[in-house]
Symmetry: C2
Subunit: 214 residues, 2 copies
């Protein structure tokens, strides 16, 4: 089977999952932590080189405070859990904003965790416009200089994006790294993650041809 | 029913349609003209404000010459057909390249056709990196200045993108205007367009909530 080098993950549906299970919405984020580490281990064993998680966005921070606190805490906890593994970790987002958790600042430059290995990117207080706003400092106009001027320049092109929660949209997820990505949607909510979701996505991806727009 | 203000169209599958019907691949493009004008009329009657067709890209021009000639001709013919209608027409793409058909140069600034009306954007020799390469001349860094510095700045945010031909990817289609778009895929090839495809897409869209990333 052809394994994608880089998979982007949109772990959506936490609030709907909480509501479905009779909890208040913000309780859904904590339930997304276990799926996150399970998916990490599965991808690592399959030989995936790079994995990018869509944590939270600048758009998301306009939600009620009880929710923004809950998803920020879940992101901090997710990084904590990851620190026990072997990986090469990068946190990407607008770290000049008060919404960016200070405890994650050390990871805004890529760092080896344990023995290093699989590249894990975590988008935290990320915005598509924030990502593009450094292009005004670019001196040349070719494709490579555009990519190297992104604020997310250390995240490579994604081969496959998997979104949980049934919505078929990118919601601002890495507009440049997603231009050629194949996009697979799982209807189940993210906290209901099962290994089979990933296997189904990979089986589907294996049947796609890769043309890079050609 | 909630009608999207702006629909993006990725009319894919022309070559596969030709092969399926025992023709050489480049014959598929001409078969996409009738669907294009049918879709235009349907959207106009439904009250859609703006429609963007993905004609061809800079990436596509690396294909064999017999194909590049065929899809370029099909784009010219598509504009010719549209000139008999009422619309506000804009052709967007890298017009400094020899691959851009000279006969379409007058439409690289928006022009009323007939009595004007629905905005029709046609991407011709378009490239996502070409679209972003003017951001290096942007003087400020906010969302509006990024949008106004795009080479496609006269194309608005897309509410819904419909892709024919079964592939679930954007292939470089307007990376900024697509950040919040809902994405609907029709398995049939574009030359096999039916009104029902559009109606199914609109019915699906009517059930999506619009959050603009919030």
């Amino acid at each position: 089977m052809r394994i994608p080098k880089h998979i982007g993950i949109i772990p959506d549906g936490n609030r709907r999952w909480a509501a479905k299970n009779g909890m208040s919405k913000e309780k859904g984020y904590e339930a997304g932590l276990k799926p996150g580490i399970e998916l990490f281990k599965l991808c690592k064993n399959l030989g995936v080189n790079e994995l990018t998680y869509y944590g939270f966005t600048v758009d998301n921070t306009k939600r009620p405070k009880i929710q923004t606190q809950a998803f920020t805490e879940a992101c901090i906890n997710a990084v904590d859990i990851l620190l026990k593994e072997n990986a090469s970790l990068l946190v990407v987002g607008n770290s000049n904003s008060p919404m960016f958790p200070k405890v994650l600042l050390p990871y805004t430059e890529r760092k080896d965790i344990g023995k290093g290995g699989i590249r894990i990117n975590f988008l935290v207080n990320y915005g598509w416009d924030w990502d593009l706003n450094n292009l005004s400092n670019s001196h040349s106009k070719n494709r490579n200089s555009i990519i190297s001027s992104l604020n997310s320049h250390d995240i490579s092109r994604m081969d496959l994006i998997i979104r949980w929660g049934g919505r078929r949209r990118l919601s601002g997820f890495l507009p440049v790294q997603s231009v050629y990505s194949d996009f697979y949607v799982v209807d189940d909510y993210w906290p209901d993650f099962k290994e089979q979701h990933l296997l189904d996505a990979l089986k589907w991806y294996d049947n796609q041809d890769v043309t890079l727009g050609g």
